[in-house]
Symmetry: C2
Subunit: 109 residues, 2 copies
């Protein structure tokens, strides 16, 4: 389980992969394997949440890291790169580094 | 605060806006106002979390709804549309509807 809050001052990575619907499941399986076996062992990793688009054309990873430095260190670690190369072969992707500005709850709780 | 879990069976909307850095703050302010005054009053709204990219070029909204139908009803409600038109004038955006496939925690908790 992941919590989103503006008070935690974490780095948020939002990575949206665009994929052929016939390959969405393969990409999902690859990202699960990469995160389980490699990414979640890295220093400074807080959480990751993997999403599949209902129309089959996208996969999105919402991840939290303690700092930009911790995330960059994982990216520079060669054990993660085979997975990244496989993901590049399956999908286009757009990666962004974010901070949480605000969170909103229902008006009538 | 927002919680991400695959067990809740919510609809997740991930909306990534691409914006000129000089207009990022204006877009953030518009989305805060739209969510506070309109979106969070809608039936089926669960949560929204607004993010600003560190490089200034993007804004991302991560939102949870009870169902696709509830989300579509909000989009079809005319009170939300002026904000959407203003957002379109400020930024390009790409909207996706997702379900959570898996969440990951650190290997060494």
């Amino acid at each position: 389980m992941t919590t989103i809050s503006k008070d935690t001052k974490l780095l948020t990575l939002i990575n949206v992969f665009t994929v052929e619907p016939a390959k969405q499941q393969e990409l999902v399986a690859l990202l699960i394997h990469a995160t389980q076996s490699s990414v979640r062992h890295a220093k400074g990793f807080i959480s990751a949440s993997l999403h599949r688009s209902l129309d089959g054309t996208r996969v999105a990873m919402y991840a939290q890291w303690r700092s930009v430095e911790d995330y960059q260190a994982m990216r520079n670690n060669p054990t993660a790169s085979p997975y990244m190369q496989q993901a590049v072969a399956l999908a286009q992707f757009e990666l962004g580094m974010y901070e949480v500005v605000e969170t909103f709850s229902p008006a009538a709780a």
